[in-house]
Amino acid sequence: MTALIETIGVSKAYGSFIALDGVSLSVASGELLSIVGPNGAGKTTLVNVLTGLLKPTSGAVRFKGEDIAGIGPVALAKRGMARAFQLVHIFPAMTVAQTIGVAVVSQASRSLRLFASVATDAALRSRVREVAGIFGLDTKLDTESRLLSQGEKKLLDIASAFALIPQVILLDEPTSGVSSGDKHGIMRTLMDAAKHAGVQAIILVEHDMNLVAEYSTRIVALKEGKVLADLPPTQFFNDPHIVAAVVGKLVGKVSQRAA
Amino acid sequence: MTSFFDILLGGVFHAAVLFLVAAGLQLVFGVQKIVNLACGSFYALGAYFGITSVNWALAAGLPPWMFLPVLIVSGIVLGAIGPAIEALLRTIYARDEAFQLLLTFALVLMFQDVLRFFWGPNPQQLSNLVTEYGRLSIGTFSVSTYNLLVIAASILIAVGIGAFLQRTRFGRILRATAENREMSQALGVNVRWMYTSVFTLGTILGTVGGALVVPTAAASLDMPVELVVEAFAVVVIGGLGSMRGALVGALIVGLMRAAAITFYAELEILAIYLVVIIVLIARPAGLFGKPIE
């Protein structure tokens, strides 16, 4: 399987502090890769390298075979990768429809059209409605983002990323701050949306090991900047050393689920 | 050679006065994150009031050579307007910077006519009191003693501010509040009182600066809007929020002005702004400022 996105021996050093040390991983089409690890393990740095925000000190990061080191968010979106953040990012005064519209306009490369009307663009509106529908936001199309609930804001953030029709989407703790009942709901919506939007691979950064166990096709554990494990869930959770290193107390509960 | 030295000293003198105003700007920006367009208005107010105070003092029988202390005191006394203005600005602290800038612009407009109301439309000056202090002869050079005194006063104030910020408890709290307002508040700092004091101090620096300049220049209604231009050049070159930046920026602007007047009068303010632009290209945050965004 050819890798859709991969890092090859990526290291990132800040002076004498080594955030990432020789991290190699690859994600192929159809995979949902979860990146786990304790705080400070280098997850954020890895994600920033994967999404072209940071140039690695050494090693390569490639998307569809092309080098994407430090290309920045705009170029990244153009190439087909989207990212949603842990902390919710919205456009406070813009409605749900407008927010998703921004992404649709980018995706359709229509941003340079100075005189076309957004309001009468039927194709744009139907696409916006479609994406909003997938995430259950179609009843709130004209609501301003700042008036949405925290959960809805999160969904909007992710929905706008999906509207870019990315081939790979990177989700940074998409269920954080969400009640455990809603977590599975969000994950299922995400999987649905991914299928609908033609997303080929998902990279997830998650702390909730139950979710990781249930939805991942593969799990990469980071510790102190190094890859500790790169295994499918069953093997991952059957190894008590790995689980202990990453999770600690939840060992018993989680391995039961994965088995 | 004497004239060269005179011009040089004139440049440093101008820098000394600019530093005072810029220091006031930096203090207020550092703590309250407000850029005060009315800094020039305070400066002009200090100038006009300084003239009035000295004339009044002289009429009351004060010996002419005491005009310098009178100027300084009159500048400090004007600090009384600080709390009132800060109270006005306080109404929009939580709002976008654009509005804060606009409110200070409203102050500029208002002050323009306040000055006109009290002192009329014509420029005013102190009648040649500079000569009271005569000139100092250093070898073959002769320089105006008044300029030297003001430069010395400015250096003293600069050192004083530095010591105040670094060594006193209030200074440390001030710097902490500048870094992190919420935390300061959480730690029990009376941020309100701090804001009032800092703004008043900033105001005084501006008014004293204006007062000190009147023996050598006329006070006019153009002062408020003209000074803003140079003061902003200073803080942009030096870096917003930095005291060291205010010092270095003021020196650069003051000396450039002196050089431009000597060699190519047309270029005077153009030269200053060219330097501003060059500095910004090379170091976007100014020479000593913190990186932006």
Partner: protein
């Protein structure tokens, strides 16, 4: 971007971006009514008041451009008087020094000159945001002012350069005296110009480009992740605003017959912001309303007292503290109160 930033102010207005047909109809009616009043104005109003409307037209056009940068893209420039001055001096140089009288050519040339100047200024300025952008643009404005002032051989120094009467579509209307020309054919030309440029700006603001600009204002980081080319679009908004300001400057200069360096002074830039906020920056029509209200307010104050600057300052302070969304904001609030009662 802080939650209490411009977006919060704008959000209370809810007017940016997509509009509904119902709102559109009411709006259209009001706009048509205003246009009719303006078109008939010279026939029923005193010439003095008619001559006031010309600078109002000029500033209305300038502010349409200015607000694209400020209200829609979130960048506050304190140096846009630079472009107004470029327009004024463009008109002056073309008519007095180069003998070019075609108003159309003057508008185009001055507008393009402004865009050309705006490119390097904008390229440097859009690297910064918020207060730094404001200070930098103030610096550039003053740089131009000092250039105008100091190089008096070219620019006429503090007296400036005369602006001669242009030809409107080739016709100089030489049978009309200055006032008759200004309140007659020139007035109508400028009204049509305002409508045309207003329409263009309306389309720009409601286009995909406009949507991306608003995204940049709301959260430029997130906008980047959604593929919005932040710096390029900020520059584009800067260039368009420069063009509009230059057009306004041309009209101002022809109206007064003189291009003078004070047009480029930073306080004039401040007045541009004043007018925009007075009318309401969060509303498309705000700047237009602001231009008219400001011109008439200033004129009335000047006739009442010599301390008119003070009262203008007080007005600005009141707007900033109590009515940040300006006249249009107040109008919208009243409108929603009326609708609630129904």
């Amino acid at each position: 971007m802080s939650a209490t930033g411009l977006s919060a102010e704008a959000a209370n207005g809810k007017q940016l971006g997509a509009s509904r047909l119902r709102r559109h109809t009411a709006l259209l009616v009001i706009v048509m009514a205003a246009l009719i009043v303006l078109a008939l104005f010279p026939s029923f109003a005193q010439p003095y008041y008619v001559t006031l409307v010309l600078p109002a037209f000029a500033y209305a056009i300038a502010l349409l451009g200015f607000n694209l940068l400020f209200g829609y893209t979130g960048l506050l420039s304190f140096g846009h008087a630079l472009f107004v001055a470029l327009g004024a001096y463009g008109a002056a140089v073309l008519t007095s020094k180069l003998g070019i009288k075609s108003f159309e050519l003057i508008l185009l040339a001055s507008g393009l000159a402004a865009v050309v100047v705006a490119i390097p200024v904008g390229l440097l300025a859009v690297r910064y945001v918020r207060i730094f952008f404001g200070i930098l643009t103030l610096a550039f404005g003053m740089l131009f002012h000092s250039f105008l002032f100091k190089f008096y051989n070219i620019t006429g120094g503090d007296t400036g350069i005369r602006v001669l009467r242009p030809a409107l579509f080739g016709n100089e209307f030489s049978d009309l005296d200055k006032t008759a020309f200004l309140i007659g054919p020139f007035y109508y030309y400028c009204l049509v110009l305002l409508v045309a440029l207003g329409f263009v700006m309306w389309r720009i603001v409601h286009s995909p480009f406009g949507l991306h600009l608003t995204a940049i204002r709301e959260n430029s980081r997130k906008a980047e992740y959604l593929g919005v080319r932040v710096r390029m679009f900020r520059l584009a908004a800067f260039l368009i605003s420069a063009f509009y300001c230059a057009v306004g400057g041309v009209i101002l200069a022809i109206n007064t017959g003189q291009a003078d360096p004070e047009t480029a002074y930073w306080t004039h830039s401040g007045e541009l912001v004043f007018m925009t906020v007075l009318g309401g920056f969060a509303n498309f029509f705000g700047p237009l309303v602001g231009a008219f209200v400001f011109i008439f307010l200033k004129s009335e104050l000047m006739s009442l007292t010599q301390y008119w600057r003070f009262f203008l300052g007080v007005t600005l302070a009141l707007i900033v503290i109590l009515f940040p969304r300006g006249v249009m904001g107040v109008a919208q609030d009243l409108w929603s109160k009326v609708k609630k009662k129904q």
